[in-house]
Symmetry: C2
Subunit: 157 residues, 2 copies
């Protein structure tokens, strides 16, 4: 066995973590480079990446884009509190269609959900808030982001 038999394919081995580390740093890194960096042949890396994709450890790849330059300079966090505490908890589905909502977290604490949103302007935020309240029957508390010292840093693997 490997380390501690990796609890039914749960924990990742060193080489796989090295691969993920490189792909987090550069999602377009070639298999050739990847192979050199982790000390494996091109085909071996190729197989491992495919396996990581199939396992779901590697969910995909995406570009990192500048919010300002694409015309969405305003980020905010919106906390949700259900108006009717007895209503069924289907808030995520009710909000899914609003593309301005980047992330939706179910949380412990005073509020039920935290939404991370990105919009073009204060006016667009006002409109989004109206749509959220209408779609989900919730009251909202909004925290506007002034600046982002850093964001989406890669975790240490």
């Amino acid at each position: 066995m490997t380390d501690r038999n990796a609890a039914q394919s749960s924990e990742l081995e060193a080489t796989d973590r090295a691969i993920l580390r490189e792909l987090l740093r550069d999602g377009r890194c070639s298999f050739t480079d990847l192979g050199e960096r982790v000390g494996l042949s091109v085909s071996a890396v190729h197989q491992r990446v495919r396996r990581l994709e199939q396992r779901g450890a590697l969910r995909g790849y995406t570009a990192r884009v500048d919010g300002e330059q694409i015309g969405l300079p305003l980020t905010a966090f919106i906390s949700l509190t259900p108006i009717d505490p007895a209503a069924p908890d289907d808030y995520p589905q009710r909000l899914e269609h609003l593309s301005e909502i980047e992330s939706c977290f179910s949380v412990a604490g005073d509020e039920s959900y935290i939404l991370q949103v990105r919009v073009a302007s204060p006016l667009a935020l006002e409109d989004l808030l109206r749509q959220i309240r209408e779609s989900a029957k919730v009251s909202t508390r909004t925290t506007v982001v002034l600046s982002t010292p850093f964001e989406n840093r890669a975790p240490e693997l």
Copy 2:
């Protein structure tokens, strides 16, 4: 001129937005595919992508990785309030070295900053909170994420 002359290279043109849309969907998409999808030759797309990278609209590429499978199943938001309101505002620099902190937002509202963190366990979170308080001389308020209905969705371009 184009649309409204794009306010000094600020706004993006339709083809560039189409390219970003595709790269947000699949960060490893080949230039060949990209060209077909946006209706341009391979070289033209290549040039545009390079230009977008130089402009800073395209900041890079990254893999999307499953938090659970890499051994970091716990996400939380931590709000920061300075203990000494007169202290210099260098909190981001003081916290930068803590790799568990994925994002750091300066916000308007009751608190000064919101941190998004990812850790292995409640114990690791406790330890991180201690380090944050020590490093930045702040009091903290923590909201634990129970589940994530959706996260990091691509914005509508």
